[in-house]
């Protein structure tokens, strides 16, 4: 239980957010998210002494976030040879700028919130908010379906930060259930992506905006 190491990890997370928002290649973004997930998996150990159940959970998380999901997404990308450029609705620099703003904002908010002394010295809550917002930001600012999945994954990572903060209240089973749900969600999304890529021709695969008033 040492705050400094936790903070370093969380800083990494923040940086990865920035990196994803800045990167213009999809595969890179996917890999980055995977790395983020793996890093976060370690977070659990810093909070309390480990039990074997934690180890079990750790393994599952590594498996799901580190390997299965990225593999799935990359496979889809390859299979439907979606081109690598993630066509932004808002440009890269503005997004990063907004993200930076959101980081500041979240730190500000977190300073206002009542926290346990244990959490006050770590930057866990602000990072959680920041990650959530960056995920949203990615979803809003990029048009392609797959990048939006990436944003979804970022948000999920943010939630994971939070859940790892509250060990004890959330049971192991619940954790696994959550994971599996996310997995199923991403899985179905992957299938849908595949269908999209096969049904639409490359031109309008970019943005799905035919259903409107």
């Amino acid at each position: 239980m040492n705050p400094s190491s936790i903070n370093t990890i969380l800083l990494f997370v923040l940086l990865i957010n920035m990196f994803i928002l800045g990167s213009n290649r999809i595969i890179t973004a996917i890999k980055a998210v995977a790395i983020q997930g793996v890093i976060l998996a370690f977070l659990a150990f810093f909070f309390k002494e480990t039990t074997d159940s934690d180890a079990f959970l750790f393994i599952i998380i590594i498996a799901v976030k580190g390997f299965i999901i990225p593999y799935l997404l990359i496979k889809v990308t390859k299979m439907a040879d979606i081109n690598q450029e993630m066509t932004p609705l808002i440009g890269y620099v503005p997004t990063m700028f907004i993200d930076a703003l959101s980081v500041f904002l979240s730190f500000f908010v977190a300073s206002k919130l009542p926290l346990l002394p244990a959490h006050q010295e770590t930057i866990i809550v602000p990072v959680f908010f920041a990650t959530l917002m960056s995920g949203m930001l990615l979803i809003i600012s990029r048009q392609k379906a797959i990048t939006q999945v990436v944003g979804y994954l970022i948000m999920e990572n943010g939630v994971f930060i939070l859940s790892s903060m509250l060990t004890g209240s959330v049971t192991l089973l619940a954790e696994i259930g959550v994971l599996l749900d996310v997995l199923a969600g991403v899985f179905i999304m992957g299938i849908m992506l595949n269908h999209i890529a096969t049904t639409f021709e490359k031109g309008d695969a970019v943005k799905l905006t035919s259903l409107r008033e």
Partner: protein, 655 residues
């Protein structure tokens, strides 16, 4: 219980005859009319009994239903409003025998028509007798829906469908307002039926005014008060004739009934309510008749006249309310008596007019007055009945329209003596009533003169016969009643007095016996009339030769197109009211060097409806624009909505 039996008969009439409809459609229609009339007769008998005995029934069904209970209450006012339902219902049933015969319209259509007709009547009866709010609104809605079904009974006519749509919107909007009203009453005052709330609600509370306004909106939508009548002309004109008669003669009176019902609930009435209703009445009256003059479609014209008459009734109700708020029982008596008497009269002569118009329309297949002319020679009886209807709706003696307007006039004139100068604006009521009278007279001179007299304009009359007995009988019957009520108006005086004193919530010591004098005066009138008629007939017997054409002041006009048309007859009047009309005038001419044809057109229409239509159109456009902006298809934007909502809610929670 007479009532149940009568309703049962009416219900039977919907089903029984159709077992033989396959073999003998005509007999089936006759049977329908027969059963229905028996039911109606029973009902009328019950009413007569009730009125003479001063019946007062209050009854509650033992079991609970619809989250409440079914309680009925029958008093004078209910009986009064039940009269037209039964009367006009049976008349329409008889009229339909030839107007909507199974042979022409086909079994399915005819069956639906008759079934709706019966249920329509039944629901109105139940509406009038039901005392509980939930019951009331339920039957109200059922009545409205059946009316919708009857208006749009003809699936193929575009016009009927759109009219039905307008009507539908209007009626259900009204129902929603009524729901709000009843909700307020139940929550704030805890009453769940009319009789328990009778005179218990203090109108000085702020919420009471909203009850009143919601009520006026909801019921006025049905009754066709000034801005809310937009559904009425199209619906009345595109429905089948017997149905138009029912709608205009009976259904819109239910709105009046409702307004009276809610007024009964208040212990006192603020001044501005009375003035509001009074003003609405004046507006509806004048505008209604002006728009009617501008119309060429005979059924639309009659529909606008029902707006006018509703205006007159509203004037009466407004007077009664003023009387209550100024503690002037004379005004209450004359106002309410006039209003209710006019309700009855209007429900007599308006169906009469619709029926006779229908018997023309059936022959000529057009509703445009400009095509008629000289009908009196081929359909003398129809013409006679229409004339009677016209005279009575113009409020001319010795017919019933005059009697009720006379009561209203008397009420207003009597206020001149009470030295409350705050009541002085009532004179505007007198003037507008006079104006309405003059205009209505002009309008019906136009209708009668243009369509029945003179030479046929566009349609050849050679092969037209007088309508069948089933059509003539209702007209004859109604015109007789009009005449009798006109000459002996004092038949009504007790029931009117009774209701008025109930409305006043304390006894009224003024009397309306002066109605007797009218009959006396009419006696003299008929005496003189008889003498003069006798003399003239004696003098002119055998001296009449009818073998020349009309003297055309030197011209020799062979063409009937040289006659005065409805628009030219009324143009001088309409010029005075140009500001209320939406006028489109112009001319076509063929573009050759020597133009052969040159023809002008002039359309004058209801400006109110025109503006309403414009506004709603704008609103719809705005809505679809807004929709396209919000639903632009980008999912990022949708997520942004969620995000923004989240942030805003967090901020809201934060402080």
């Amino acid at each position: 219980m007479f009532l149940c039996i009568s309703l049962f008969f009416i219900l039977c009439s919907a089903f029984l005859p159709f077992f033989i409809a396959k073999k003998n459609p005509l007999l089936c229609d006759k049977l329908f009319a027969f059963f229905y009339s028996i039911g109606a007769l029973l009902g009328l008998g019950f009413i007569a009994f009730g009125i003479t005995k001063g019946l007062h029934v209050a009854y509650t069904l033992p079991f609970s239903i619809l989250f409440s209970y079914f309680s009925i209450k029958i008093e004078m006012i209910n009986l009064l409003f039940m009269i037209p339902i039964y009367l006009i219902g049976s008349m329409s049933a008889i009229y339909s025998t030839s107007y909507w015969s199974t042979a022409q319209k086909g079994l399915g259509s005819s069956f639906r028509y008759r079934l709706y007709l019966c249920l329509f009547t039944i629901s109105m009866i139940l509406l009038v007798i039901s005392d509980n709010f939930i019951m009331f609104i339920t039957f109200w809605e059922i009545m409205s829906l059946l009316a919708y079904g009857l208006i749009t009974i003809d699936e193929d006519s575009e016009e009927a469908q759109s009219a039905g749509y307008l009507y539908f919107i209007a009626t259900h909007t009204g129902v929603i307002a009524l729901m709000g009203m009843f909700a307020i009453i139940q929550v704030y005052f805890g009453f769940s039926d009319f009789s328990s709330a009778l005179g218990k609600i203090d109108a000085n509370l702020a919420i009471a005014s909203s009850i009143f306004l919601l009520g006026v909106f909801g019921f006025g939508m049905k009754a066709g008060f000034f801005p809310l009548y937009f559904w009425l002309p199209s619906a009345h004109s595109s429905a089948p004739v017997p149905i138009s008669a029912l709608l205009s003669g009976v259904m819109i009176k239910m709105g009046i009934y409702g307004i009276l019902k809610i007024l009964f609930m208040f212990s006192n009435i603020p001044h501005w309510w009375g003035w509001l209703i009074f003003a609405i009445g004046i507006l509806s009256g004048i505008l209604g008749v002006v728009y009617a003059i501008a119309q060429h479609d005979i059924k639309k014209l009659l529909a606008y006249h029902s707006i006018e008459n509703i205006g007159i009734i509203a004037i009466g109700i407004g007077l009664a309310m003023l009387g209550r708020s100024y503690h002037n029982s004379t005004l209450v008596l004359f106002g309410l008596a006039g209003a209710l008497f006019h309700v009855i009269n209007h429900s007599l002569f308006k169906p009469l007019l619709f029926y006779s118009a229908g018997s023309i329309i059936e022959k000529y297949h057009t509703r445009d007055i400009g095509h008629y002319g000289g009908i009196i020679k081929v359909q003398p009886y129809t013409a006679l009945f229409f004339l009677i209807g016209a005279v009575s709706i113009s409020g001319l003696p010795p017919f019933n329209g005059f009697a009720s307007e006379w009561l209203l006039y008397m009420g207003m004139f009597k206020t001149l003596f009470s030295h409350q100068n705050t009541l002085m604006p009532v004179v505007f009521g007198i003037l507008s009533l006079a104006l309405i009278g003059g205009l209505a007279l002009a309008c019906f001179v136009k209708v009668f003169g243009i369509s029945f007299l003179g030479n046929p304009r566009k349609i050849e009359l050679s092969n037209v016969k007088e309508s069948s007995l089933f059509m003539l009988f209702p007209m004859a019957f109604l015109s007789t009643i009009c005449f009798v009520l006109g000459v002996f108006p004092s038949i009504m005086k007790d029931i009117l007095l009774d209701i008025a004193s109930a409305f006043n919530q304390k006894n009224i010591y003024v009397k309306i016996d002066t109605l007797i004098n009218l009959s006396e005066a009419y006696l003299w009138f008929f005496m003189i009339f008889g003498v003069v008629l006798a003399v003239v007939l004696y003098q002119t017997r055998g001296k009449i030769s009818k073998n020349i054409g009309t003297w055309a002041c030197g011209f020799s006009h062979k063409t009937p197109r040289a006659q005065y048309t409805s628009s030219s007859l009324m143009q001088m009047i309409l010029d005075l009211f140009g500001w209320t009309l939406h006028v489109k005038r112009g001319a076509f001419c063929s573009k050759e060097l020597f133009s052969q044809k040159y023809h002008f057109y002039l359309h004058q229409n209801d400006k109110t409806i025109y503006w309403l239509a414009k506004i709603s159109e704008k609103f719809l456009l705005f809505c679809s624009k807004l929709r396209t902006i919000i639903h632009n298809g980008y999912m990022g934007i949708y997520v942004l909505y969620i995000f923004v909502a989240l942030i805003l809610m967090l901020l809201y929670v934060g402080n």
